[in-house]
C-alpha cells in the first residue's frame, strides 16, 4: 500500500461526567478510517464520547525518559 499508516490514540467516556480514558490505539491511513476502526474495534461499551488523536499531534508537557531508551528502544 502506498499510504503510510499513522498511529491514533483512542480516548472514550462511558457516561457523561466520567473520566476520559485512554482505551487503546489503532493504526490507520487517515483519520476517517481511524474513526471507523475505533468504532468497530472498541465496541465493548456504549460510549458517550469517543475521540481519536493522531499520536504525533499530542503536545507533551512532561515526558519521562523511557526504560531502555539508552539502548535505542523507541517508546512512541
Amino acid at each position: 500500500m502506498i499510504a503510510e499508516k499513522i498511529t491514533y490514540d483512542i480516548f472514550a467516556r462511558i457516561n457523561r461526567g466520567d473520566n476520559l480514558m485512554h482505551i487503546g490505539t489503532v493504526e490507520a491511513e487517515n483519520s476517517e478510517l481511524a474513526k471507523v476502526y475505533a468504532t468497530f474495534t472498541y465496541d465493548e461499551e456504549d460510549w458517550t464520547e469517543m475521540v481519536v488523536v493522531e499520536r504525533n499531534k499530542l503536545n507533551w508537557v512532561k515526558k519521562p525518559d523511557w526504560l531502555f531508551s539508552e539502548k535505542g528502544a523507541e517508546a512512541l
Partner: protein, 214 residues
C-alpha cells in the same frame, strides 16, 4: 391488485433486494474480510458483517410484517434471489470493497430520499440503519481510494471490479426510480434522480484520486 397493494408489493420487492444484498455482503465480509490486508481492516470487516446481517434481518422482518405474517417471524436461511451477481461473486478483497462501496452507496441514495418524504413509520424503521451504514460507506470509500492509488495491477483490477458493481447497482437504481407505485405511495418524489446522484458519487471518488495522484 389495488393501487395500495401494488405499492406494498413494490415496497416489499425493494426491501427484499436491499436485504438480499446486505445478507450476501454480510456473508462475504466474513469469508473474504477475515483475510483483509491488516488487522484493523479485518476486525472492522467482521464487525461490519454483523451490522450488514443485522440490517438484512431488520428488512426481512419488515417484509414479513408487510406480507401480514403474524407471530414469530420465520428463520432466514438464504437470500430470496434478488442480490446482485457482483456481490454473490465476491471472492477477494478488491471485489469485496468494490461491491461494498457500490451497493451501500446505492442503498444510501434510496434511503436518504425515503427519509426526506413524510413517511414517518418508514423513517423510524430505517433511521438507525442509515446511520450505521454511513460508517460502512466511509470504510469502503477510503479503501476504494487506497486501492485506486495502489501499485501494479491493483488500481486497474479495482476499477474493473468497481465498474461491474456500479453498473449493476445503477441498473437497479434506474429500475427503482421508474417505479410509479412507489411514487404514488409517496416513498419517492416524482423525479428521484437516483442514477444521477449515484454517478456524481462515483465521479467524486475518481476525481479525488486524480487530484491525489498528481
Amino acid at each position: 391488485m389495488s393501487v395500495m397493494e401494488q405499492g406494498t408489493h413494490s415496497l416489499i420487492e425493494l426491501l427484499e433486494t436491499i436485504a438480499d444484498n446486505k445478507y450476501v455482503l454480510g456473508d462475504r465480509l466474513v469469508e473474504v474480510g477475515v483475510s483483509g490486508p491488516n488487522l484493523e481492516a479485518t476486525l472492522s470487516a467482521i464487525a461490519m458483517a454483523q451490522g450488514e446481517l443485522g440490517h438484512a434481518r431488520l428488512l426481512y422482518n419488515w417484509c414479513f410484517d408487510l406480507k401480514g405474517v403474524k407471530g414469530k417471524k420465520p428463520d432466514i436461511q438464504a437470500q430470496t434471489g434478488k442480490a446482485f451477481q457482483t456481490a454473490v461473486n465476491v471472492q477477494n478483497w478488491i471485489s469485496l470493497i468494490a461491491s461494498l462501496y457500490a451497493i451501500n452507496a446505492a442503498i444510501d441514495i434510496v434511503f436518504q430520499t425515503v427519509l426526506k418524504t413524510s413517511h414517518s413509520k418508514v423513517a423510524s424503521r430505517i433511521q438507525k440503519l442509515v446511520r450505521e451504514q454511513h460508517d460502512h460507506i466511509i470504510y469502503a470509500e477510503n479503501w476504494a481510494k487506497q486501492l485506486l492509488l495502489d501499485q501494479g495491477a491493483v488500481p486497474y483490477r479495482f476499477q474493473e471490479a468497481l465498474r461491474e458493481a456500479a453498473e449493476e447497482a445503477k441498473a437497479w437504481l434506474a429500475k427503482v426510480e421508474k417505479s410509479e407505485e412507489l411514487k404514488k405511495e409517496g416513498y419517492f418524489p416524482e423525479t428521484p434522480s437516483f442514477t444521477e446522484k449515484f454517478e456524481k458519487r462515483l465521479q467524486q471518488l475518481n476525481a479525488e484520486q486524480l487530484v491525489q495522484a498528481k
